[in-house]
Symmetry: C2
Subunit: 231 residues, 2 copies
C-alpha cells in the first residue's frame, strides 16, 4: 500500500443499519488496544469512484454486495482534524508513523448510510480493529471524533426519507409478517404506530405480495407472510 494509492484528505464513514430483536442497530468497530470506537470507514483509491470505494469497504466489513446505500452528508469542519487520535491508533498497531504519515493529515469525510439484512451479515474487523459488532442505537458506546454526530444525522435523514424509500425491503429478510414490518418502522421513527392504519397503508402501496401463513407455534391466529414486489 503506497502512500499515493489513496486520495489525500478524503475519507468516508458508513452508518450500517440492521434490524434485530425489535431494535435498530449499527456496526461499530473498535481499534486495537485503544478503547476507541468508530464507524466503519476508509479511503478512496486514486483511480476509484467515491461510491465504489464505499461499496468496497462495505463488502469487506459485511461480506455483502449490492447493498442499499445512500450518501447523506459530507463533514468538513477543521475541528475534525485531530492527528493525535489517528497517531494513537497507528502506534497501538505497531505501524511506523513515517509510512502512514498521510493518515495524520486533515480529512474531509463523506458519510453514507446502508440498510442491510441483519441475518445475512458476518461482521468482520479490518486490520486496525479487533472487533466489528452490532450496537443498538439506544446503547452506543462513546464514538471517537464527530462520529456520534454522523450517526445522529444518518438517523435523521433515514427518518426524513422513510416515506420515499422501500426501507423494509432492505432491512428485512425476503419473507416477513406485517408485524415485522411495523416494528421496523417503529424502531426508525422511535414511536408507536396504529396497527390498522399501518396495515391499510402498506397494503395500499401495492408493493407487497402475500404468501402462505406463518405458523409460529404460538397461541393465536397465524399471520400472513409477505415479500416486496417490484411493480
Amino acid at each position: 500500500m503506497k502512500q499515493t494509492a489513496y486520495l489525500r484528505h478524503i475519507a468516508y464513514d458508513s452508518v450500517i443499519f440492521g434490524f434485530s430483536g425489535e431494535k435498530l442497530k449499527i456496526l461499530i468497530t473498535k481499534y486495537h488496544n485503544t478503547g476507541l470506537f468508530a464507524l466503519p470507514g476508509g479511503f478512496v483509491k486514486i483511480d476509484e469512484n467515491l461510491n465504489d470505494a464505499v461499496r468496497r469497504g462495505l463488502k469487506e466489513r459485511t461480506g455483502l454486495d449490492n447493498i442499499y446505500l445512500e450518501q447523506f452528508y459530507t463533514f468538513g469542519d477543521v475541528a475534525r482534524f485531530r492527528p493525535e487520535v489517528m497517531q494513537t491508533i497507528l502506534e497501538a498497531n505497531g505501524h511506523s508513523i513515517q509510512t502512514y504519515e498521510w493518515m495524520l493529515d486533515r480529512f474531509i469525510s463523506v458519510a453514507y448510510y446502508a440498510l442491510i439484512n441483519y441475518s445475512e451479515v458476518v461482521p468482520t474487523p479490518d486490520a486496525l480493529s479487533d472487533s466489528c459488532d452490532w450496537y443498538s442505537l439506544d446503547d452506543l458506546p462513546e464514538l471517537m471524533l464527530d462520529h456520534g454526530n454522523i450517526v445522529n444525522k444518518a438517523l435523521q435523514t433515514l427518518r426524513d426519507n422513510l416515506e420515499r424509500q422501500l426501507v423494509g425491503m432492505n432491512l428485512l429478510p425476503p419473507l416477513f409478517t406485517m408485524g415485522d414490518l411495523q416494528k421496523v418502522y417503529e424502531a426508525i421513527l422511535g414511536e408507536k404506530l396504529h396497527r390498522g392504519a399501518f396495515q391499510r397503508k402498506m397494503l395500499g402501496l401495492g408493493i407487497l405480495k402475500r404468501h402462505d401463513k406463518q405458523y409460529s407455534g404460538a397461541a393465536h391466529k397465524a399471520p400472513f407472510l409477505y415479500s416486496f414486489e417490484a411493480k
Copy 2:
C-alpha cells in the same frame, strides 16, 4: 497563493438559485477565452471549515452574507477527472501550469445549493472568468464536466425539501404578495397549483404576517402584502 494554502483533491460547486420574471434562475460563470460555462465553485483552505469556504465563495460571487445554504451531494466519480479542461482554462488566462499544477489533479466536489433574493445580488466574476450571470433553468448553456448533473440533482433536492423549508422566505424580498409566493412554488415544482388551496395552506402555516395592500395601478382588486414571521 501558495500550493499548500488549499486542501488537495477537494472542491465545492454551488447552485445559486434566484427568482425573477416568474422564472427560477441560477448563477453561471464563463471562463475567459474558452467558451466554457460552469457553476461557481472554489477550494477549501487548509485551516478553513468546508461550509465556511462555500460561504466565502458565495460572498465573493454575490456580495451577500448569511445566505440560505444547503449541502446536497458530493460528486466523486473518476470520470470527473479531466485535467485537459482545467489546463485549457489556466492557459487561456496566461497562468503558468507549474504554479497551478495542483489544480490539474483529480477533485471530489461537494455541492451546495443556495437560495437568495435576486434583487439584492450583484453577480461578480472571479479572476478566471469574464462573466457571472443569471440563466433561467430552462435556458441553460451547456455546462462543463458534470455540472449539468449537479444542477439537476440540486433542483431535485430542492423539490423534495420544498415542504420542509421556508423557501419563499429566501427567494423573495421582505414583502410579497400571495401570487408572488405561488409563482415561486410553481417555478420550483414545474407545475401549476390551485390558487385557493395554495392560499389556504400558506395561511394555515401561521408564518405569514399580513400588511397593507399593494396598489399596483392595475384594473383589479389590490392584493395584500405579506412577510414571513418567525413564530
